[in-house]
C-alpha cells in the first residue's frame, strides 16, 4: 500500500478501514457510537429542527419591559397591587410601569418594547411564550433547572446541550458538538451549566471565552505552535504508518483511534476557520455590529452553519441581566449590547435558509417582578431604586425558526405580568417541546445510569403542540 492509498483509507472513516465484512455487520450503530460517541444519532421521528442556538440572557430579563406588554401597570404605577404579593427573593413594593414604550410590530402585530428594536423587526418569526414559569426565585437553582431540568445544584444531571448532542451526535466531526460561548468568564454555577455529568465527556459543552478576539487563543491545543502544517502532516503520516504496521486484528478501538487522529488534524483547520469572524464580508460584520456581542453571535451562526449541534450564547460572566436597581439604565445598556446581534442573527439565518431548521431560543433563567424592589439591609444596595426583583412565577421566553410558529404569543400572565395564568408553560414543558422539535420523544431519550433510566425532563414535561408550525 502506498502512502496515498493509506491516507485515503484513513481519511474515509472506519467503514473503509478494512474491517472484516461481518464485523461491520455485527457492529450495530449503538456500538459504533460507543467508539465514536459523536457520530450522528437517530431521532424518534422526523425532526423540524436540526440544531439549536440558545441565547441565555442570564440574570433574568424583565418581561414587562420587553415582550409582555402590560398597560395596566401604567394605571397602577406607584400603587400597591391588589391582594398579597407572590413570594419572590426580596420584598417588593408598588407597581412600576415600564420606562420603555411598547409598539406593535410586523404583520402579526406583536407587542415589543423599544428595548429590542432590531429583534422587533423579526416579530413575524417570533414565537413568544409569555407564560413561562419556574420553581424558585433564585439564580442557581433556576439556572440548573433551565439547563439540566433539575434545580438542585448538588444533583448531578447532564445539561440540555449534552442531552441533545448525546441524542443527535454531530453533523461535523471536525468541531465539538456542543459549544458554550460566554465572554469574560463563566456564569454563576459555572461549568455545571454545560457539563455532561454522567454522560461521557464527549458530550460536555466546550466553553469558549469570546472576549478573546484572537482566534488561536479561543480553543486550547488547537494547533501545535512549534510546527508548520507541513511538518505536522509529515509527523502524522509517520504515526499512522506505525499504527498500521502494528495492527494485528480488526480491533475497533484501534481503528477508531487511527480515524480520530485524522479528525483532529482537520479540526485544527476547520475550528479556527469557524471562529474567525473576520472572514465574513464587511456587510455581514456590520449587520451584527463590530462589538463583543456582535462577534459572538456571528460565531454562533458560523458554528451552526458548519454543523455544530448546540450553541449556547451567554450574555456574560456572572449574572448580567440581574437588574435589581435602575432597570431603565441597566436593561437599557444590556439590550443595547444584545439587540442588534440577535436581530442580525435572525435576519442572517433567515436569508441563508438556515432559520427553517435552526431553533433559536431566547430567555433568562426567570423574569422580573412588575413591582419595584424595596431596599433590604445586607442584601442589596441601600440606594436600590427603580429596579425589579427575580420572578419565577411568570416570565417570557421566545423561540424562532426550527419549526415553531412565527408571529404568535403563547400563554399569558395576569393583568400585571406577575404570574403565568393561561397555558402555563413550565421549564420542563419547554424542554419537552425543544426535544420534540429536534425529533425526540422526551420520555424516550434516556440514559441508563445508577440503576435507572434518566432523562432531561425527569418525570415531567408536556410537549406544547400549539407552538409547532
Amino acid at each position: 500500500m502506498n502512502r496515498r492509498d493509506f491516507l485515503n483509507r484513513c481519511g474515509m472513516g472506519m467503514g473503509s478501514l478494512g474491517l472484516s465484512p461481518f464485523l461491520s455487520e455485527i457492529m450495530q450503530a449503538g456500538e459504533r457510537r460507543q467508539l465514536n460517541p459523536l457520530s450522528p444519532g437517530k431521532t424518534h421521528f422526523g425532526a423540524k429542527a436540526k440544531r439549536v442556538i440558545h441565547i441565555f440572557a442570564n440574570g433574568g430579563p424583565s418581561q414587562v419591559d420587553s415582550f409582555d406588554y402590560k398597560p395596566a401597570l401604567e394605571k397602577w404605577h406607584g400603587k400597591n397591587l391588589p391582594g398579597e404579593h407572590l413570594k419572590t427573593e426580596r420584598k417588593t413594593g408598588t407597581a412600576m410601569q415600564s420606562p420603555f414604550a411598547f409598539q406593535q410590530h410586523g404583520q402579526s402585530g406583536l407587542w415589543i418594547s423599544d428595548l429590542f428594536p432590531k429583534v422587533a423587526e423579526m416579530a413575524d418569526d417570533l414565537c413568544v411564550i409569555n407564560s413561562m414559569h419556574a420553581n424558585v426565585p433564585n439564580h442557581e437553582p433556576s439556572l440548573m433547572l433551565m439547563n439540566t431540568g433539575a434545580e438542585r445544584v448538588s444533583l448531578v444531571r447532564p445539561s440540555m446541550g449534552s442531552w441533545v448532542t448525546y441524542g443527535l451526535g454531530t453533523e461535523n466531526e471536525n468541531l465539538p458538538g456542543f459549544v458554550a460561548l460566554c465572554p469574560g468568564g463563566v456564569p454563576i454555577v459555572e461549568t455545571q451549566n454545560w457539563r455532561s455529568a454522567f454522560l461521557p465527556g464527549a458530550y460536555q459543552g466546550t466553553h469558549i471565552d469570546t472576549k478573546n478576539s484572537e482566534v488561536r487563543k479561543l480553543i486550547p491545543d488547537l494547533r501545535n505552535p512549534k510546527m508548520t502544517r507541513n511538518l505536522q502532516r509529515q509527523q502524522l503520516d509517520l504515526i499512522q504508518q506505525m499504527n498500521r504496521m502494528d495492527v494485528d486484528d480488526n480491533d475497533p478501538g484501534v481503528e477508531a483511534r487511527i480515524h480520530s487522529l485524522e479528525l483532529a488534524y482537520r479540526m485544527q483547520i476547520e475550528a479556527s476557520d469557524a471562529f474567525d469572524v473576520e472572514r465574513e464580508p464587511e456587510s455581514v460584520q456590520e449587520l451584527y455590529g463590530k462589538t463583543l456581542h456582535g462577534r459572538q453571535m456571528l460565531i454562533a451562526r458560523r458554528l451552526v452553519e458548519r454543523g455544530v449541534r448546540f450553541v449556547q450564547v451567554w450574555h456574560g460572566a456572572g449574572q448580567p441581566w440581574d437588574s435589581h436597581e435602575q432597570i431603565e439604565k441597566n436593561h437599557g445598556k444590556l439590550a443595547q449590547e444584545a439587540d442588534q446581534p440577535i436581530g442580525a442573527l435572525l435576519k442572517d439565518l433567515k436569508m441563508r435558509g438556515l432559520l427553517e431548521d435552526t431553533l433559536v431560543v431566547w430567555g433568562g433563567e426567570f423574569g422580573r417582578t412588575p413591582t419595584v424592589e424595596l431596599p433590604t439591609p445586607g442584601a442589596n444596595s441601600p440606594n436600590t431604586a427603580l429596579g425589579r426583583d427575580h420572578n419565577h412565577h411568570g416570565f417570557t421566553m421566545w423561540m424562532a425558526g426550527g419549526g415553531v410558529k412565527g408571529g404568535i404569543t403563547h400563554g399569558t400572565t395576569d393583568e400585571f405580568g406577575f404570574r403565568a395564568e393561561e397555558d402555563r408553560m413550565h421549564v420542563h414543558d419547554l424542554h419537552a417541546t425543544i426535544l420534540h422539535l429536534l425529533g425526540f420523544d422526551h420520555e424516550l431519550l434516556t440514559y441508563r445510569y445508577a440503576g435507572r433510566d434518566f432523562r432531561l425532563t425527569d418525570v415531567h414535561g408536556e410537549v406544547r403542540h400549539q407552538l409547532i408550525a
Binding site: S154, L222, N224, K226, D246, G253
Partner: protein
C-alpha cells in the same frame, strides 16, 4: 387542579398506556410490602400463615403472591397438611369477612360489576381525577388510576372507609361537604353531578370492582434475584490442578465453541502487568531482565508480579481506582459568594488509600475503617492515621443536608454493595427490594453521624517557617474577631437594650454584616489552604451525642414526615435473617460490620468484580455498581461465585486475588486471537474472553507514562495536591493531581476521567479528536518530546535509544526505515535553506517592488511584545522605517516611502493552486492619502493591485486563482503611497488551496515569532508518544 380541556381519543389511549405501566410498578411495590410483612412476621415462612395475614389486606395479593414453590419444595408428606391448613385459614378468613358485614374484597367480580365500573365510574375518573392522581406524580400520593391506590389512600390517610363506605373521605371530597376536613375536589371547580357521585358511592360499596387486567402480570420475586442469595461457590473437579479461573472460563468457552487465544509473549505480558499494577510502563532494564530470565514463563511472571506488588507505585495506581468509587475530590462543590471551596485535608484520605493498598489491609477492614474508623481507633494510638479513611464519608458533595446524606449513603451502597438504594428516597424502589422505610432507616445512621471533626494525625514540621505562618494566620483571624468586636461595640451603643446580651449582639452583627464577615473568614480559609503548612488532619464524622429517631420523609421531602424508620440493615442483604435495629449510637459501626461481613451476599461479589474489571476492562457483571435486578447478569456466574468465596476464604486479601488472576492463562492470553474471525459472530462482545480485551491508556497512565519514559517523573510519594494539567506542570504522578469537583479541567473528561460528583463504577471509553489534539499539540506533550529528544540523545544510535525509552524495546528494521525516511524529509522541510524566520510559511519584513518587477525583501530583525519590528525601540526615531511592524491581528504600518513598504512573504510548501482573499482596512477615513496593496508572485509578477483611497474604509484584496510551484514566494506588499500619515491599517490575507479544499494558510492563525520549530528528533520522539504502540496497553 382540573384541566380545562377535554382529552381526545389519542390522549385517552396514551393515558391508558401510562396507567398500565404504573399498575405494573404498583403491583411490584405491593408485592414487596407483602413480602416484607411476611419476612418480618413470619420468619418461619409458613405460607399458610402468610396467606391469612395478607388476606384481610388484599386477598388478590395473597393469592397472587403466595410462593407456591415453597409449598412444592416441602417434603411430600408435609405438602398436604400445609395446603390443608392454608385452605382452612382461607375459609376462616372469608367467613370472618362476610360476617363482619364490611366491605367485600372479592377476588372476582361479576361481569355486571365490571361493566358498571367501565361505563359509570372509569369515565368520571378519567374526566375529573386522573390528571392529577395518576402514578408516581400523583397529588398527595393518592393514585386513583388503579385499585391498589384507592385502597392505600394518600400519603396522609385512607380515603375509603371500609366500615362505613358512605362516610369515605373521598365521597365527602367529591360532594364538597367539607366534613372530616375533606378537601373540595376537583380543585377550583364545581362538584361533579350527584348522580355521578352516587355511582361512585355504589361502586365503593361493591368493593371497588376493577377488571382483572391489573393483576395478570406477576413479577418475579426480587428477593430471589441472584445477587441477594448467599454466595454459593461451585467446586472444582478433584483431578483439576490448574488455575480455577481458567477452568470456569474454559467451561463456558467450550460450551459456546470458542477458544482462548495463545499466551502472549513476555514483552506484552510485562508491559500489561506493569501498567495494570503500577499504572506505569516498564523500563527497558526491567524488560530486558524479564525477557532474559531463565525461569519458566510462569515462574518469571510470578516473580514479576511479586516485585510489582511490593512497589509503592502499586498503591498509587490502585488507590486511584478506589478514588473513582469514592467520588474523590479536593473541593466541596459549588459555593456561592466566593467562599473557598477546597478541602484542605482531602489528601490524607488519598494517602491512606495508597498505604492501605500497599499494606494489603484485609478488604473488610478496609471498608470498616472508611465507615467507622473513629470507633475502631483511639485518637492517641499509633493507629490514629487510620482516621483519615473516613474521607470516604467526609469528602462528599456539599449542598442541602438531605442531599449530603443521600450522597454519602449512595456512595456507600453503590460503591461497596452495588446497590442503588437512593431510588428509595422518594418511593419504594421500583425494581429492587428496598423500601422507603428501609432507606430512611439507613439514612438515620448517616443523619446521626453529622458531627464533623478534624483530628490531627501528624504534627506540622516545626521551624521558623511554621512560626511565620502561624503569625500571619493569627493576624488574619484577628481581623475577623476585631471586626466583629468593633461592630458589637457600635451596636451596643445603638441598642442599649441588648448591651448586656453579647451573644445576641454577635448574632445580630453576623446577620447584618454577613458579606464582610464571610469575606474575612474566607481570607483565613484561603490562606490555610494556600500555605499548606498545617500538619495532617483526618476528616472524620462522629455520632451525635444522642441519636434522634429518623422519620420517613414522604416523597423525599423533609417537611413531610411519615412514620419513624428504625435504623437497621437492609433485608435484601440479609438472606435468611431478619433485620434487627442497630443499638449503638448512630448504628454506623453496626452498619459497617453488616456491609463488611462475609455473610453479606453483595460485598465480596462486588469488590472481586471491580478488581476483575480493573484488570480486564469489563466486569464479570458489566454493570459494576448495579447488582440489582436492573443490572446485568454475570457473564461467568460460577467464576464470580468462586472468586467471591475464595476472596473471603483468603482473608479478603486484594494482593492474593491479584496473584490468582494474574497467573491465569485467561489473563495471559494475547489481545488478538488467530481464530478471531470465527469467534466474532458467536460472541461479538468478547464476553467469553476468547481474547484479552485491548485497552487504551487511561488519563493517568497516559500522563504518568509520558513522564516516566522521558525520565522526568517525580516519584515522590504522598502529600498535598498539585495542579497537573496547568502550567507550571507538576511532574508528580496524576494521583496527586488537584481534582476540582465543580470546575474540573475539561481535559480530564476529554480522556474519560471519572466524574467526581458521584461514585463512578466504570469510566466511559471513548475515542474523540480532542484527545489527539492534546497529545499532538499541548504544551505538556511538546515539553515531553523535547525533553526526551534532548536527553536521550547519545552519540551512538538515537533511534534505538528513543525506542528503548518509549517502548522498552529496540526498533525493528521496519521501524528504522520509517524513522530514517521521516527524519530526513522532516529535516529538509524544517531547515528550508536555513533561512526560516518564523514557525510558519510566512515571513514578515519590508522593502519594495523594483522597476524590473523583482521584490526586494528584508526580514524584520526584531521581535518584541508579540510583534515584528525594526528595533527594540518603537517607533524608531528619525528613521523612515520608524512605524514598520507586523502583528497577529493584521494591524500594521508601512514606512515613510514606498521603498519601506510592509511586506508579508509566504512560501508555497508544495505545488498547488490557491485563492487569496482578505480585506485591507483603515480607520482614518478622510485623512492622509490612503494605501496601496499589491500581491506578487515570483512566476506571475504583480497579480493583484488594490488602491485604498483616503475616502474609503476598506477594500477587498483577492486573487481568484493562482498557480504556484513548491518553494515559490508570494509577496503581499503594502505601500504608503509615499505619504505615511494616517497609514495605520489592517491586512491579514488568507490563502486557500483550490486543488485540495480545506487546506489553508491564515495570516492571523499562522502568525509566529522567531523560528523555534520542533526539530526532527523532537518531532520523532513526539510521534512515538502518539503512536498506538504507546497509547494502548497491548
Amino acid at each position: 387542579m382540573r384541566k380545562g380541556g377535554h382529552s381526545n381519543a389519542y390522549q385517552r389511549e396514551e393515558r391508558k398506556e401510562k396507567e398500565k405501566g404504573v399498575r405494573l410498578h404498583e403491583i411490584r411495590i405491593g408485592y414487596f410490602e407483602a413480602r416484607n410483612k411476611r419476612k418480618s412476621n413470619q420468619s418461619d415462612a409458613d405460607p399458610a400463615a402468610f396467606f391469612a395475614h395478607i388476606l384481610p389486606v388484599d386477598p388478590l395479593l395473597a393469592c397472587s403472591t403466595v410462593n407456591w414453590s415453597d409449598l412444592l419444595m416441602c417434603q411430600k408428606s408435609q405438602t398436604s397438611s400445609y395446603l390443608q391448613s392454608a385452605l382452612s385459614k382461607l375459609l376462616v378468613g372469608w367467613v370472618a369477612l362476610w360476617q363482619g358485614g364490611c366491605l367485600v374484597f372479592a377476588s372476582e367480580f361479576s361481569p355486571e360489576q365490571i361493566e358498571f365500573f367501565e361505563s359509570k365510574v372509569r369515565p368520571v375518573l378519567v374526566e375529573n381525577c386522573l390528571d392529577c392522581h395518576t402514578g408516581t406524580k400523583a397529588r398527595v400520593g393518592l393514585e386513583l388510576n388503579h385499585r391498589q391506590g384507592w385502597l392505600r389512600g394518600s400519603d396522609y390517610r385512607k380515603v375509603i372507609n371500609e366500615q362505613e363506605p358512605a362516610e369515605s373521605i373521598i365521597l365527602h371530597a367529591i360532594r364538597h361537604t367539607g366534613k372530616h376536613d375533606a378537601p373540595r375536589m376537583p380543585e377550583d371547580s364545581e362538584p361533579i353531578a350527584e348522580d355521578q357521585a352516587a355511582d361512585i358511592e355504589a361502586w365503593i360499596k361493591m368493593g371497588l370492582p376493577w377488571p382483572e387486567e391489573q393483576l395478570t402480570e406477576k413479577p418475579d420475586d426480587p428477593f430471589q434475584h441472584w445477587s441477594f442469595q448467599p454466595v454459593n461457590p461451585p467446586s472444582l473437579p478433584e483431578e483439576f490442578t490448574g488455575n480455577a479461573i481458567d477452568y470456569f472460563v474454559e467451561k463456558r468457552q467450550s460450551a459456546a465453541g470458542v477458544k482462548r487465544a495463545p499466551r502472549a509473549d513476555r514483552y506484552t505480558l510485562l508491559r500489561r502487568l506493569t501498567l495494570d499494577l503500577t499504572g506505569l510502563p516498564p523500563s527497558w532494564k526491567e524488560m530486558k531482565a524479564f525477557q532474559e530470565d531463565d525461569a519458566s514463563d510462569q515462574e518469571a511472571l510470578l516473580a514479576a508480579i511479586d516485585r510489582l506488588l511490593k512497589s509503592p507505585h502499586y498503591g498509587e495506581r490502585w488507590a486511584r481506582h478506589w478514588m473513582d468509587v469514592a467520588r474523590y475530590s479536593d473541593t466541596k462543590g459549588y459555593e456561592a459568594g466566593g467562599r473557598d471551596r477546597r478541602f484542605v485535608y482531602s489528601y490524607t484520605y488519598r494517602d491512606w488509600l495508597i498505604r492501605a493498598f500497599q499494606d494489603d489491609i484485609p478488604f473488610d477492614q478496609f471498608l470498616l475503617y472508611q465507615l467507622a474508623a473513629e470507633q475502631l481507633v483511639k485518637g492517641d494510638s499509633p493507629d490514629k492515621h487510620h482516621l483519615a479513611a473516613m474521607g470516604f464519608i467526609s469528602l462528599s458533595k456539599n449542598g442541602k443536608t438531605e442531599l449530603v446524606i443521600d450522597d454519602r449513603l449512595d456512595t456507600t451502597f453503590r460503591g461497596m454493595m452495588g446497590l442503588t438504594v437512593s431510588c428509595a428516597r422518594c418511593h419504594d424502589h421500583k425494581f429492587d427490594p428496598v423500601s422507603t422505610k428501609e432507606y430512611y432507616g439507613i439514612y438515620g445512621v448517616f443523619a446521626n453521624s453529622m458531627q464533623k471533626a478534624e483530628p490531627l494525625i501528624r504534627d506540622p514540621e516545626p521551624g521558623p517557617k511554621l512560626e511565620e505562618y502561624r503569625k500571619k494566620k493569627g493576624e488574619l483571624e484577628k481581623k475577623v474577631t476585631d471586626f466583629i468586636n468593633s461592630k458589637v461595640t457600635e451596636m451596643a451603643k445603638q441598642k442599649p437594650e441588648l448591651a448586656k446580651k453579647r451573644p445576641e449582639l454577635v448574632k445580630e452583627v453576623e446577620r447584618n454584616f454577613r458579606g464582610k464577615i464571610r469575606s474575612l473568614r474566607t481570607a483565613v480559609d484561603k490562606f490555610v489552604a494556600d500555605q499548606g503548612m498545617e500538619g495532617d488532619r483526618a476528616l472524620i464524622v462522629k455520632d451525635l451525642p444522642k441519636a434522634r429517631p429518623q422519620h420517613v420523609y414522604i416523597r423525599g421531602n423533609p417537611a413531610r414526615r411519615g412514620e419513624v424508620a428504625p435504623s437497621q440493615f437492609l433485608q435484601a442483604a440479609l438472606p435468611g435473617k431478619t433485620p434487627v435495629p442497630f443499638e449503638s449510637g448512630s448504628g454506623r459501626l453496626e452498619m459497617a460490620k453488616a456491609i463488611a461481613s462475609a455473610d453479606n451476599p453483595l460485598t465480596a461479589r462486588v469488590i472481586v468484580n471491580r478488581i476483575w474489571m480493573w484488570h480486564f476492562g469489563e466486569g464479570i457483571v458489566r454493570t459494576v455498581s448495579d447488582f440489582g435486578t436492573q443490572g446485568e447478569k454475570p457473564d461467568h456466574p460460577e467464576l464470580l461465585e468462586y472468586l467471591a468465596d475464595w476472596f473471603v476464604e483468603n482473608g479478603w486479601s486484594v494482593k492474593k486475588l491479584h496473584r490468582l488472576i494474574l497467573q491465569s492463562e485467561t489473563w495471559a492470553q494475547q489481545a488478538a486471537n488467530p481464530s478471531g474471525d470465527g469467534f466474532l459472530p458467536i460472541d461479538p462482545e468478547n464476553r467469553l474472553l476468547w481474547k484479552f480485551p485491548r485497552k487504551r491508556l487511561d488519563l493517568e497512565q497516559l500522563r504518568d507514562g509520558m513522564l516516566a519514559v522521558t525520565g522526568e517523573l517525580d516519584r515522590k510519594l504522598y502529600g498535598r495536591t498539585e495542579k497537573i494539567l496547568e502550567a507550571p506542570y507538576s511532574l508528580r504522578r496524576s494521583v496527586y493531581g488537584f481534582i476540582d469537583r465543580q470546575n474540573l479541567n475539561p481535559v480530564f473528561r476529554t480522556f474519560d476521567f471519572s466524574n467526581p460528583q458521584e461514585t463512578t463504577g466504570k469510566r466511559p471509553d471513548t475515542t474523540i479528536p480532542m484527545q489527539a489534539l492534546f497529545t499532538l499539540n499541548s504544551e505538556f506533550s511538546r515539553k515531553r518530546a523535547q525533553y526526551l529528544a534532548v536527553n536521550t540523545a547519545v552519540n551512538e544510535d538515537r533511534i534505538a535509544s528513543l525506542h528503548r525509552a518509549v517502548f522498552a524495546r529496540p526498533p525493528s528494521d521496519e521501524d528504522r526505515q520509517l524513522a530514517e525516511s521521516f527524519l530526513s524529509s522532516y529535516h529538509s522541510e524544517w531547515n528550508r535553506d536555513g533561512k526560516r524566520q518564523t514557525n510558519s510559511e510566512w515571513s514578515y519584513g519590508y522593502g519594495n517592488i523594483s522597476e524590473g518587477g523583482a521584490v526586494s525583501f528584508t526580514a524584520f530583525p526584531h521581535w518584541e511584545k508579540d510583534r515584528w519590528q525594526i528595533s527594540a525601540e518603537y517607533p524608531l526615531k528619525d528613521d523612515p522605517r520608524s512605524y514598520l511592524r507586523a502583528e497577529a491581528s493584521g494591524n500594521t504600518h508601512p514606512g515613510n516611502t514606498d521603498k519601506e513598504s510592509v511586506i508579508y512573504q509566504w512560501q508555497a510548501p508544495t505545488d498547488m493552486t490557491i485563492r487569496i482573499s482578505g480585506m485591507l482596512r483603515r480607520d482614518a477615513v478622510g485623512k492622509g492619502n490612503g494605501l496601496r496593496a499589491k500581491i506578487h508572485s515570483e512566476a506571475g509578477g504583480i497579480v493583484g493591485e488594490f488602491d485604498l483611497t483616503e475616502k474609503s474604509r476598506s477594500i477587498s484584496c483577492g486573487v481568484d486563482s493562482l498557480v504556484v510551484k513548491k518553494n515559490e514566494l508570494v509577496h503581499f506588499v503594502l505601500e504608503p503611497k509615499n505619504n505615511t500619515a494616517f497609514d495605520s491599517a489592517n491586512w491579514a490575507p488568507l490563502i486557500a488551496r483550490l486543488d485540495k479544499p480545506g487546506e489553508q494558510w491564515s495570516f492571523r492563525e499562522d502568525f509566529s515569532g522567531p523560528a523555534d520549530l520542533m526539530d526532527s528528533w523532537q518531532a520523532y520522539a513526539q510521534a512515538l508518544l502518539n503512536s498506538n504502540r504507546f497509547l494502548f496497553i497491548d
